[in-house]
């Protein structure tokens, strides 16, 4: 009999999917603004600008929810990997992704309400939620006040470093989204991860795995 665990409360799922929708809008509109082409625009510049601004503000507000929620509930601890044995845990995770999974092995780390992430996820999510997101949000908000940027920096307009940081961090998040979507398919079943993010229930607890987190 498969054990099921309710690990994704409704608020978390709503936050996740709203974030996902806004990030997709930001990526498409951001690409339209960066790679403008008067002949074949992805989204027309002025429309892309509105979408990007509104979605950007939305994501910023959601990030504030995330920060408050994480500090209030102590969930931030879930992102901190256990340093002892970190390398072994990462190696084990990589081995599972590139070998074990192909052999049909069960995942050796199964999410619980207390610890949802494996070591690889922890490192990735630290980069995403605590580095790339703040960078993309702060530089994005700076674009609302371009007059505050220095007039010149290294002979270029002072807005350039802000723009480049925004672009690179935004690109990093786009790559994360690709990886995140794909990793979502690598559970016991292809749709299992997505189903969990819709229903909140993780139903792969019948494998009796050995968790790496205490």
């Amino acid at each position: 009999m498969a054990e099921r665990a309710y690990i994704m409360p409704i608020a978390l799922r709503l936050w996740h999917w709203t974030n996902a929708l806004l990030m997709i809008l930001l990526i498409i509109s951001g690409a339209s603004l960066h790679f403008t082409d008067p002949v074949i625009p992805l989204i027309r510049f002025d429309i892309a600008r509105t979408i990007h601004n509104v979605s950007g503000i939305g994501v910023s507000v959601l990030y504030i929810f995330f920060a408050v929620w994480n500090s209030a509930t102590g969930s931030w601890r879930q992102y901190i990997p256990e340093l002892k044995g970190l390398k072994a845990n990462l190696d084990r995770q990589n081995y599972y992704v590139f070998v074990g999974q192909l052999k049909g092995d069960a995942p050796h780390v199964v999410p619980t309400p207390e610890q949802k992430f494996n070591a690889m996820q922890q490192l990735t999510y630290i980069g995403v939620m605590y580095i790339a997101m703040p960078v993309v949000i702060v530089t994005g908000l700076a674009f609302f006040y371009p007059e505050l940027a220095p007039a010149q920096l290294f002979g270029f307009d002072g807005l350039l470093p802000i723009a480049v940081l925004h672009y690179v961090a935004g690109f990093g998040l786009t790559m994360f989204l690709l990886g995140h979507l794909y990793m979502g398919t690598t559970g016991t079943t292809v749709a299992g991860g997505f189903r969990m993010m819709i229903t909140g229930w993780h139903d792969e607890h019948d494998e009796k795995p050995e968790n790496e987190q205490p």
Partner: protein, 319 residues
């Protein structure tokens, strides 16, 4: 240690590459003795027609109220396009003596005397402009916008910001003042803020580009003098916000020939002044991130294929 050195040298290289000023187009040289003759001749006029001369002037028969409107700032004049032109080149015979001839204004050499070819082209463009079509053509002469004692051509100016300031002041001298607008038009002065509500970051745009970037048709030769009304003006953001930005043919026209691609930036001569989304991209960065994205997609596709094959092998093995 080696990594730190590499970073320091890369930073120095970047600074050297990016801080080289874009050369200003030089004016034609003039022989020092010719320049001195011009300055001496002009000094005679400025004995009355300058702030300093006006203040100390005590000459019989001078109407100082009238003269006050005809003062020239020598510093500004010498910095203008006509700064090395003798006053008498335009203000001919009637101005040589004092009091000046009664019909002195008729004895001014107008712009077309020197700028004949340009004048013909500009007049044709101007006839199509909103100013001519609104029935106020006779209110306009070249000097309505281009004060010959002040005007500087964009190609001789150091900074695009200065060009923007000067050229937008032409427009605002009427469009920013009810009093001046009434003198040329019976219509109510259009509310510029209201009319440009569609334009994002309006103050930033107004400081960074000229009214004529949008309110003239693109011309591959010189800036067109066909001023377009609001309904015909450029409203497509991508006209400027693209790699093939029309700013190359407008505000930055005189810098395009000076441009050398600086550390891979498209339209780097614009980037010197303003980061223009879509127009000032870095091709190397785009390429590097594009390759990175391709590698990520490749890994995902490869992994998917391996998973499918592995699942098929397992199902066959398990019967």
């Amino acid at each position: 240690m080696a990594a730190i050195k590499t970073v320091i040298w890369a930073a120095i290289g970047l600074v050297l590459l990016t801080t080289s000023a874009i050369a200003q187009i030089e004016r034609k040289p003039i022989a020092p003795e010719d320049l001195k003759n011009i300055q001496d001749s002009n000094a005679k006029c400025l004995e009355c027609h300058s702030e300093g001369g006006f203040d100390t002037l005590n000459r019989e028969g001078v109407d100082k109220d009238k003269l006050r409107d005809h003062l020239v700032d020598l510093g500004v004049y010498e910095g203008s396009n006509h700064g090395r032109v003798e006053c008498k080149a335009c203000h001919v015979k009637g101005f040589e003596e004092f009091p000046h001839a009664a019909d002195d204004k008729k004895q001014i050499n107008w712009c077309d005397e020197c700028h004949t070819r340009k004048f013909l082209r500009i007049e044709m463009q101007f006839d199509e402009s909103v100013h001519a079509k609104e029935g106020i053509k006779e209110k306009f002469t070249c000097s309505t916008c281009h004060d010959p004692h002040v005007f500087q051509a964009a190609k001789y100016m150091n900074s695009p910001r200065d060009v923007v300031r000067q050229d937008n002041d032409f427009c605002l001298s009427c469009h920013g003042s009810d009093q001046s607008f009434e003198q040329v038009s019976k219509e109510a002065r259009p509310d510029l803020v209201e009319n440009h509500e569609w334009l994002p970051n309006r103050p930033l745009h107004w400081n960074a580009v000229r009214c004529v970037e949008c309110h003239t048709p693109v011309s591959k030769k010189v800036m067109s003098h066909e001023i377009l009304p609001a309904e015909k003006a450029e409203k497509r953001c991508v006209a400027c916000h693209s790699a093939d930005s029309t700013l190359r043919l407008r505000l930055y026209k005189h810098m395009v020939s000076e441009e050398r691609s600086r550390v891979g930036f498209v339209n780097s001569m614009i980037l010197n002044e303003a980061y223009v989304i879509g127009a000032t991209r870095n091709v190397y960065l785009d390429l590097a991130l594009g390759i990175f994205a391709a590698v990520v997609v490749f890994i995902i596709v490869l992994h998917s294929i391996l998973r499918i094959i592995a699942a098929w092998v397992r199902s066959r093995r398990n019967g």
